[in-house]
């Protein structure tokens, strides 16, 4: 509501001087970076759904078959546990399939899963090239490079995030660490790690997809079976990244979200520097 009102005022040049008609803006993300960022959402969604259906056919984590049920799959055990402990799920018809019924294309769908996984994997690689092109054209790659001070600064940021809810609870002032770069050290580590993880996902993916023609690739990761374990664990890097990423973007507000959709930001300096100056 307030957004549209202010826009109306600005469209009325008579009420303001020409100088005030302009806002200072800064380009945060290159067009190609923004496109590849959002294209990752459906692509990764397809890769994860189909990937867990592929996992169903050959669980990376298994134990000796249970003498009564014959089950050897840890994900099936987790499903069984969820159905017996979560209220409302006690009547669920197929507890060992719970994980696969909710987090994958479904159990027993290997052919569909492989087909979708290859499709999304090729799209993921193409999208990666889009991202690299955007990072180079926009020069944004420089903001992602790790610095020598990052370990210490990241710890400071980590301390800030951990303490933030408690400080709010007891209404104490809790200052955001100062920095004068595009990203703080913790963001930089995260935004640098994700493309690295993506490259590793692609490399391990090819390693298990073509273990004969590209056998040297699987050998780098410790062999055919070990490469599959790597590929599976890289999934957790994305999930580990995604949870705080989503929380923080909404906590940070519209300007940050807009900069990834529209590219422009009206925050000329890091918000915490402004906050410091106001105190």
């Amino acid at each position: 509501m307030s957004h549209s009102t202010s826009a109306c005022n600005q469209q009325n040049p008579a009420s303001t001087s020409p100088r005030q008609q302009h806002v200072l803006v800064v380009k945060r993300h290159h067009l190609l970076v923004r496109w590849s960022h959002w294209l990752n959402v459906p692509i990764l969604f397809g890769l994860i759904l189909s990937g867990i259906s592929i996992y169903w056919a050959a669980p990376v984590y298994q134990h000796k078959p249970n003498p009564t049920t014959g089950n050897f799959d840890v994900a099936a055990d987790i499903g069984t546990w969820i159905c017996s402990h979560v209220p409302g799920l006690h009547q669920y018809s197929n507890p060992p399939g719970w994980i696969y019924n909710h987090l994958s294309l479904g159990p027993g769908m290997l052919a569909s899963a492989l087909r979708l996984h290859w499709l999304c994997a090729y799209l993921f690689m193409l999208n990666g090239m889009l991202y690299v092109a955007g990072s180079v054209l926009g020069g944004g790659w420089r903001s992602l490079l790790p610095r020598r001070t990052d370990v210490f600064d990241a710890l400071k940021m980590f301390r800030y995030y951990i303490g933030f809810p408690f400080a709010k609870l007891i209404r104490r002032k809790w200052l955001h660490p100062r920095f004068n770069t595009k990203y703080n050290a913790l963001q930089r580590t995260a935004y640098f790690s994700v493309p690295v993880a993506a490259c590793l996902s692609v490399a391990t993916g090819w390693g298990i997809h073509k273990p004969m023609q590209l056998h040297w690739l699987a050998a780098i990761f410790g062999g055919y079976n070990a490469t599959r374990v790597w590929h599976f664990w890289l999934l957790w890097i994305y999930i580990l990244f995604l949870v705080p990423h989503l929380i923080l973007v909404f906590a940070d507000g519209w300007d940050t979200l807009r900069s990834m959709i529209v590219g422009w930001s009206t925050r000329l300096e890091p918000p915490e520097a402004i906050a410091h100056d106001r105190q």
């Binding site: 008609q21 056919a57 000329l268």
Partner: protein
């Protein structure tokens, strides 16, 4: 040089004022620019609408690409299984097959292992294991030969006529598990030289007529193999497993061993090989798996 500098103090002063050149890797300061709020508002509205359209497109794309079973579980009513969906997904699969074919080289050998690295190989017959009764009357039929004849060979014939090669290689299943096993047999390439196929032939259809489905009824297993792969030196018509003649579990008396392909191409108890110019049908491709299965 020094003289020049002394005589020209203004130049020296200027050079001091010039900023130290930034490293190529150093972060650039943000480029600020002025923009009319109305323009920013317009750009924002345009891109947010575009973003919304993209989200709708992604959702309908998911409806188009996800399997029917998955959509039904998500509560999407109605049939979304169009022939176009199958066509599109199979096109994507064909691209991957083309990549696999481009990676293939007759000269690139698959890794071989030592006897201490051998692992267990389970009997992975998809249906019931056939009754060993077929073995005594077993023959290999060759069809689509340059001679125009249909040839029938028994196992003694094959084992005495061709030299036997040994290899310890990994057999990789499409499901993700694999096994390192010790095989011996004749090279498919040697059979192709002894009984050349028709000159236009690019494909072999490798068939087992003794294959059974899960309830024990006849379910012939057939598989397409490109002749380039058949000519690979590590593509064997295996007669032995772990130093012993093949057991019925592993496809006695003759099975295909093609380590550059997924396990499902490694047909057990082969009864017939037919050569053709056109790509023959494939048992698992009809179930939505790839045609080429190169690994």
């Amino acid at each position: 040089m020094i003289d020049n500098k002394n005589r020209n103090p203004s130049l020296t002063a200027k050079s001091v004022a010039v900023k130290k050149p930034e490293s190529f890797f150093a972060e650039q300061p943000p480029q600020k620019s002025e923009m009319a709020p109305a323009r920013l508002h317009r750009l924002t509205r345009r891109d947010v609408l575009l973003f919304g359209a993209g989200a709708v497109a992604a959702l309908s794309g998911a409806g188009f690409l996800l399997p029917q079973n998955t959509l039904s579980r998500l509560g999407v009513a109605g049939k979304m299984n169009s022939p176009r969906k199958e066509w599109f997904l199979n096109q994507a699969l064909r691209i991957d097959d083309d990549v696999a074919e481009a990676l293939y080289s007759e000269k690139r050998m698959v890794p071989t292992y030592t006897k201490s690295q051998i692992t267990d190989l389970k009997n992975n017959y998809n249906g019931a294991t056939p009754d060993p009764g077929y073995i005594s009357g077993w023959n290999l039929t060759l069809d689509g030969l340059a001679s125009g004849l249909t040839i029938s060979l028994d196992i003694r014939n094959l084992m005495t006529r061709f030299s036997i090669h040994e290899q310890i290689t990994r057999l990789v299943c499409v499901e993700g598990w694999s096994a390192i096993a010790w095989w011996a047999g004749l090279r498919f390439d040697d059979l192709l030289r002894a009984y050349p196929p028709i000159s236009q032939a690019k494909w072999a259809r490798v068939e087992s007529s003794v294959n059974l489905d899960a309830s024990g009824n006849p379910d012939p297993y057939f598989m397409s193999l490109d002749l380039a792969t058949a000519r690979h030196p590590q593509t064997l018509l295996a007669t032995h497993f772990n130093g012993q003649p093949l057991t019925v579990d592993h496809g006695a008396p003759l099975r295909l061993l093609v380590p550059v392909k997924l396990g499902l191409k490694n047909v057990k108890a082969i009864t017939k090989i037919s050569y053709s110019a056109e790509e023959p049908k494939d048992y698992w491709a009809e179930h939505g798996y790839s045609h080429y299965d190169g690994i």
